[in-house]
Symmetry: C2
């Protein structure tokens, strides 16, 4: 399976077509622009195995949950991004032969994702009965700036003989979510209409009532012999017949607009889509593409990482950065980042703690601060729902959901929903990350504080005071390591709970001092008292942390050392991955750790640990960690960099960087691991380059992985853009934009200015 | 809701009809005979809320399981006893009025379950338009000896005016299980046929392919004006018209036979049913009923408990004994005892550990030893499946399923299926119970030993050796208290595991000595070695038991005392029951205990504890136990009796005794709590009477609850029947059958003989 795609710095290239690999290629070749996304399906019919996937951000269906035995507090629904009308479709018949790569003969197939300009290109040579050849090319893109627009260019050129062609550009709403729990259809049909060179289709999701209108216009560079309008329920298009002489290239350009009632009044949605599609056709493919390309060039200008000397690593990191920028653009604070983005249906296309713990740093460092701010506002807007959610569990304050789209909990396993409460800490910590990065302390006053205070109230109520030990404990949790459930005193959870309380107290002091009026308002609104603050202080002072005296490190949870102490090396090949080969109870009983847990805490709070202590923790936990979450190796890689274990850092980086391209976990067919891609970015920037933001200053402690000649990346920081180049000999810091800035490199302060750049010898 | 039924020593009487209570009455008024059962539905049409339920022992459908997220090792199906063709149905029209108590006017309704003779009687006076009255009576029974037979007698008597009657005795296979996971139909139609005064219907379960033929014959004591045969898919019967003069009683007797391919070749099933129904009709209602009544009189002769001075308690215990004898008769070793018997669909009508832990003692003491033996053979025959089940979890030996019908696991929650492994101990302990009771040591050699040895192998592999403490532990379990999951070192589980190992080693020594040839065979077949026996001994010697030093008692599990220590008294009314009012995580975090856990172990192994120690354990755990399992109060009642806390023992007994009659848990509409009924029996016999079997001898330490004048019961023990009478003044032991026997009363040996009885002053 691995190395299916050709290595190239800017492209993902599939040469030759392996049907078994089609779903994986479709995931990899997905296009998106934050507003919508499509998998790398073929425009023409394909009767083989495929997941035809078109997804529109925020347009979800509340699918009925499935559970074995209902437990109190379970959510009624699991929101799923609805697979929407297929708009790329063009049915093709040549000399009455249905073009279908599952059945036709063809040669010279290639499918290429161009990451630089964000388009998908596909070509193949069809072999007709009698062996005459027809060259077919398809190109498409989802407009980066005009996000409701997409365009497909379909080209047919007979190489040997004149051919008859029947083309049917269409919109098809007869789609299903593969992940529907009871096979339900998610859409109601509203209307469809076909005109001479255009058509539209409107559908509405059931229960959630999102109206989506998809409109298309098309043009062709040749005379049409006959044409027919098609209007069936959920299907509309135009069937045209024409001929092409040998060597004549027929080009059909299809322009699509997708508008939804999320953005317009219901009675204007269709009208808007029709207008946009018509205007796009007016503008033409080339001009639209030029705009789109310009948009992407600006993205790359800010977020590219360039690696010399390691083309696979280069392709890997660019693929990750590309997909992150496709998935979330920050243009809409109602949206967030699903673990699979627009590339598949697994996990329902919703928001997890991945956003705060993994994705936020990437968006902060590569985009304007409004993008990160929108990620935070998403949670701010869901605060009331999080308070309701805590109340459902009989607790004060706010518990943010494990999985959500509207702020309501969507997951239905008690061990996750009710117990994996550390997610609350990540939401709180994101406030600090954002403010540290942007310096936007007003955010704290206006939006951050109520989120912090409600989360603190939750921790306050969720701890158990143990009078025998005069300690506070947190019982019955699941930590980041989901290979344990219902444990007591997960160190990470206890730690981040205390951190939240401390930070909220600091935030309170800050607001009290700087914004006394707002302070009084919040105190009233949130019903906060000095007694409560004292209670928080007491919890901070008396939190219990499990400790392994034998190893002089924190214990992942109470009783961890009672487990049989084995390492990953003692596993057999047939055991891996554990989640596929072991029963759940065997996993739970084993010492094996799914993903960074204690190390996740050390990653967050590493300033509290000396180097030796970090080393001890790393050396104990890393060999016990199986990294069966895509979110795991990046954190271990960063910590390995931190303690100077460069080889391990690089090795763990590799695991995360090409996870999907090389289909490391054999699950890329289900979609890409979008959120872990931000972790890959962190492995380089926070890990190899040792980048941190502390006290309004940027810190770097870079090293160059042995195999690489150099790498460089940019950091957007408070209206500046700094280019960081780490070479074999030299390290350079270049201010590309903005005012001079003091940074720290290997503990030494330096000033970066626009006219000159800092150059140091690499250590 | 409570006290809906009239108190009576031998009857359960519903006077007046409350539609809201109909499902509950239907559960209470269920009839069964071990082969089949029906809920107390009306013979004539009823359009109001009702669960029409007809169930045939062992005829199940493997329904597709539902889970949120699939985990490795989950079962593919959940076996459910299929709701089968309704055979009691008689459609009734009078003067063209459809008789339907949901719509008609009526007075003087009563529905009575006669427990002595095991029949259901119902009567009411229908008020016709114009106010003329018609008396209607229905009687029915399921034959206790000829278990495939049932009979219904339907009587109509116009009190004021001549009436036209249309009667349609029918068989109706258009039935569904309410608990079907995806609404599937469980049956395929095979054939139906209607003849002059008879009909039959054959259906086959999907997937499991049980063929069930239901045949009926009927007779009427009046001339028929016209008749019509009805044959529709899954429905067959005869529609007849007649007239009845004022005061003339029309009696329709319907005879039913239900035969299945579990008992006959498929090509003979229908023929057999047709023949049996015809023969029954030949014999007539009165004679059939006389046989049936005789069968029940023998049952009561052996298993009745008579209480003087407390009619409610009398009715309660008889209802429990009655239902136990309806549910399981021991005639078929392929059958077992479902928690709801034939009275509802919840829990799928399958086997739980309830059988061994709660039901076995009742059947041992009130029936011939073959009945208990069949319960054990059920598990023996499933040994291979239990080995497969352990293997699925990656473990040696046998893990008996939590829920089963064929030996395969049917439950689909990991915390139960994979972790509630203590059930294995109950299966092992049942071998000891059976042998202690019957003295049938050959059973050990032939069937008991392989079951014990495979369970021991499971424990051997399931423990974790902790070299730091030089102790064995059992991690990641759920104990009997299901209000905790994935805990470490549940004392009860550790204890019963060690007990199994010890008892298996003893059994091995016994077989080696007494049956050396068989011993060698088992050693070979089970691949047992001295090393393995030594390993078992090591586990026995070095098992870790969590202990609460502060209280000088065993801890339910590691860390129990870290929970907030609250008692049941601190709960508010609106909290109870917790499982309905609290979120699952709140329950898990709380100190509240669902059902006997440590106390379950003390109940099993009380000879290892002195009275003070039992008291300490009781006094710690009882106030923390919410008894939200019907299996809980009986165990606490027995222990309360043991420590002389008679008031508490009586109070806990009351809770279990009338659980369903008074609808204590508001769930009797879903069916009766059959298995806990055996616990009620134990509360009296093992609790109040202090009955035990040790070293081939019967022990008694009786007391009389304050409110009672006396109680008596019988014990069947090794071909003897002993009647035990506990009065205010005197205690009497009377040998009704069999040879003299030495018994121990309050620690003093006595001989019971047939001619005389032991009489002691009550203490």
């Amino acid at each position: 399976m691995k190395k299916y795609f050709k290595v190239d710095k800017w492209n993902i290239i599939e040469e030759g077509f392996d049907k078994k690999y089609n779903r994986t290629s479709e995931s990899i070749m997905s296009l998106a622009n934050g507003h919508m996304g499509i998998r790398g399906n073929f425009a023409e019919k394909y009767s083989g195995d495929s997941l035809q996937g078109t997804y529109i951000a925020g347009v979800y269906y509340p699918d009925k949950t499935v559970v074995g035995w209902w437990k109190n507090g379970y959510p009624e629904y699991f929101a799923k991004i609805a697979n929407a009308a297929n708009f790329i479709g063009i049915n093709v018949q040549i000399n009455n032969l249905q073009v279908d790569l599952n059945k036709c003969n063809f040669i010279d197939f290639s499918r290429t994702l161009n990451m630089k300009d964000a388009f998908l290109k596909r070509e193949f040579t069809l072999i007709l009965p009698g062996s005459s050849r027809v060259k077919i090319r398809e190109k498409r893109f989802l407009h980066q700036i005009e996000k409701e627009l997409a365009a497909v260019s379909y080209q047919i050129k007979p190489l040997d003989k004149k051919i008859n062609i029947q083309l049917t550009p269409y919109l098809d709403g007869n789609v299903k979510n593969e992940d529907a729990n009871y096979g339900d259809l998610f859409w109601n049909n509203i209307e469809q209409k076909s005109r001479k060179k255009s058509a539209y289709l409107s559908m509405e999701t059931k229960k959630s009532f999102f109206l989506v209108s998809t409109a298309m216009n098309w043009e062709i560079n040749s005379e049409i012999n006959s044409s027919e309008n098609i209007e069936k329920k959920n299907f509309t298009g135009n069937k045209i017949n024409l001929t092409a002489d040998r060597g004549e290239e027929i080009i059909l350009n299809k322009y699509i607009a997708v508008c939804t009632s999320r953005d317009y009044n219901k009675n204007r949605v269709r009208e808007k889509a029709v207008k946009l599609a018509a205007e796009a056709a007016q503008k033409g493919y080339a001009d639209l593409f030029a705009e789109h390309k310009k948009g992407w060039s600006e993205i790359w200008q800010e977020s590219d990482i360039k690696i010399e000397g390691d083309p696979e690593a280069q392709q890997g990191i660019r693929f990750n950065i590309f997909q992150l920028n496709q998935t979330y653009t920050g243009h809409d604070p109602r949206l967030n980042i699903g673990p699979k983005g627009f590339t598949g249906e697994k996990y329902g296309g919703l928001t997890y703690w991945d956003t705060e713990a993994y994705c936020l740093p990437f968006y902060l460092a590569t985009h304007s601060s409004s993008v990160g701010r929108n990620l935070l506002l998403y949670r701010y807007h869901h605060l009331d729902k999080a308070v309701e959610n805590a109340d459902k569990l009989g607790l004060k304050g706010a518990l943010y959901p494990m999985v959500t789209i509207t702020g309501e909990e969507c997951h239905n396993e008690w061990e996750i929903t009710f117990e994996e409460i550390h997610r609350n800490g990540a939401v709180a910590h994101a406030v600090k990350d954002y403010i540290d990065y942007t310096g936007d302390k007003k955010y704290l006053k206006d939006f951050g504080f109520p989120v912090l205070a409600e989360i603190s109230k939750f921790w306050e109520d969720r701890v158990t005071y143990n009078p025998r030990k005069d300690k506070y404990m947190i019982l019955g949790v699941t930590g980041p390591n989901e290979y344990e459930n219902n444990i007591n005193n997960n160190w990470y959870t206890n730690k981040i709970a205390v951190w939240t309380l401390k930070y909220t107290l600091q935030a309170k002091d800050f607001i009290k001092k700087e914004f006394p009026k707002k302070y009084s308002e919040w105190i009233d609104k949130l019903d906060l008292t000095e007694d409560e603050f004292n209670h928080w202080r007491d919890i901070v002072n008396k939190m219990y942390y499990p400790y392994l005296e034998d190893y002089n490190i924190y214990s992942q949870q109470d009783g961890y050392l009672d487990k049989e102490q084995k390492t990953r090396e003692e596993l057999k090949d047939e055991d891996i991955p554990l989640y596929k080969n072991w029963s759940w109870d065997r996993i739970l009983r084993s010492p094996y750790i799914k993903q960074a847990d204690v190390l996740q805490g050390i990653y967050y709070f590493k300033e509290e640990f000396d180097n030796d202590s970090i080393k001890r923790h790393f050396e104990f936990y890393e060999p016990r960690t199986v990294h069966e979450s895509s979110l795991s190796p990046c954190i271990y890689s960063i910590i390995a960099s931190e303690i100077g274990n460069q080889e391990k850092a690089y090795q763990l980086y590799l695991r995360t960087s090409r996870l999907d391209l090389d289909n490391y976990n054999y699950d890329t067919d289900e979609g890409l691991h979008i959120t872990s891609m931000a972790g890959t970015w962190m492995s380089i920037v926070k890990g190899f380059a040792g980048f941190e933001v502390k006290n309004n200053k940027l810190y770097f402690r870079p090293f160059l992985p042995e195999k690489w000649h150099s790498f460089n990346f940019k950091i957007i920081f408070r209206n500046r853009r700094i280019k960081v180049h780490i070479g074999k000999e030299k390290i350079k810091f270049e201010l590309e934009k903005g005012k001079p800035l003091k940074i720290s490199v290997y503990g030494q302060d330096r000033i970066v200015e626009q006219s000159s750049c800092i150059t140091l010898k690499n250590r």
